[in-house]
């Protein structure tokens, strides 16, 4: 199980399985530079693998005025 917290929407999703960050981004409808993908204190790149128990923070970057 992977838990994903999306900012600034304050939404939480849980997914059974995603092999890579790229798959997660596609599932959320995000392109590579639309959001920071954060695990702990580290930024992830699209090819990084996700593992069971991961808690991922997705921080969208488009500012709104």
């Amino acid at each position: 199980m992977i838990t994903v917290f999306v900012e600034p929407d304050n939404e939480t999703h849980t997914f059974e399985r995603h092999n890579t960050v790229l798959m997660l981004q596609k599932r959320l409808g995000l392109r590579v530079n639309d959001a920071l993908i954060i695990r702990g204190g580290t930024l992830l790149t699209p090819d990084d693998r996700l593992i069971d128990g991961d808690e991922i923070r997705v921080r969208k970057v488009i500012s709104r005025g």
Binding site: E7, P8, R31, V32, N33, D34, L36, I38, T42, L43, L44, T45, P46, D47, D48, R59, V61, I62, S63, R64, G65
Partner: protein, 308 residues
């Protein structure tokens, strides 16, 4: 994914540059882009005092930190908009950031100035984002001039600039197209305005803020739901995804080949500015737009039975 420079595991993928960086090499890249902007457009001269407009977002706080690390004499300016749902949180982030890094901060409170944004929204029949932007720019310039700053810096990034240029182009707004760019020289009662982050994308400034532990105010303004720039940014994100490098190419091309032509048109049209009769800010209409807003808000507030 490996860092292009040192081959360590990468953290920051940058498809627009067909590259990726580890955090240390990204820091050097980020600094290099800011230095390149300053050098190429003569944004800051040695010894000049720089006033940095701080909203509490990732761009302005990142700009403040980077300019201070580069050794510039920077002071932050935060305009407290007086919006109950968002202003206290934004101001707290700015104050906490400046205290943490030992940076100077000046705050203008629109409630004390008689022009809080909720009142502008309530009493003035025009798009609130337009009026709010006008009021903020007024205070940025006024504080810069009154307190002796030579330069006013804002955290506009490449995405902001491309979205704005796109909007101005859709309207063929010659006035705005004549002077949009990373440097607007001081003249006619305006301080020099600079945008040192114009070569860096929103993603890159977000990475910088995260990697430097900057706590940002990320909640959207409660009044900005229909901001057209957000839609334009999405369009450009699609274009950049299909054709990496489109944004900087569009913007740099405008600076080299578009802006000079529009500047010539504006020079021939010639608008004469004089100090506002009320506050001294430059205006072409006797009393400046912000003072006129203030007068209208005061009158309508006084006539509002709910505010008696």
């Amino acid at each position: 994914m490996k860092c292009r420079k040192c081959k360590a595991p990468a953290e920051i993928p940058l498809p627009s540059h067909n590259t990726a960086f580890c955090r240390d090499c990204f820091a050097a890249y980020f600094t290099g882009q800011v230095e390149k902007a300053i050098r190429r457009h003569g944004l800051i001269n040695p010894g000049e005092r720089v006033l940095v407009a701080l909203s509490g977002g990732k761009d302005s706080l990142s700009l403040m930190l980077e300019l201070s690390r580069l050794g510039y004499d920077v002071t932050g300016l935060h305009v407290d908009l007086g919006i109950p749902a968002s202003s206290p949180a934004a101001r707290a982030k700015v104050a906490g950031f400046c205290e943490l890094h030992g940076l100077k901060l000046r705050v203008v409170e629109l409630i004390k100035e008689g022009l809080p944004i909720p009142d502008v929204k309530r009493y003035i029949n025009r798009p609130i984002c337009s009026a709010c932007g006008k009021i903020k720019r007024h205070w940025f310039n006024r504080v810069a001039l009154e307190d002796g700053f030579q330069v006013l810096a804002t955290g506009h990034n490449l995405d902001d600039e491309v979205a704005r240029l796109f909007a101005n182009t859709l309207r063929w707004d010659a006035g705005y197209l004549s002077d949009q760019g990373p440097c607007l020289n001081a003249e006619n009662g305006f301080a020099r305005k600079i945008k040192p982050l114009y070569r860096l994308s929103e993603f890159e400034t977000a990475c910088y803020a995260f990697l430097n532990g900057i706590e940002i105010h990320s909640a959207p303004c409660p009044y900005s739901g229909k901001a057209s720039f957000t839609g334009h940014k999405r369009l450009w994100a699609d274009l950049e995804h299909q054709s990496p490098g489109s944004k900087i190419s569009f913007y740099d091309g405008f600076l080299k080949r578009g802006r000079p032509a529009f500047a010539q048109v504006e020079l021939e049209a010639g608008v004469t500015l004089a100090p506002c009769e009320s506050c001294g800010s430059p205006t072409s209409t006797g009393i400046c737009g912000v003072c006129r807003l203030g007068i209208a808000v005061r009158e309508r507030r006084a006539a509002d039975p709910e505010r008696q």
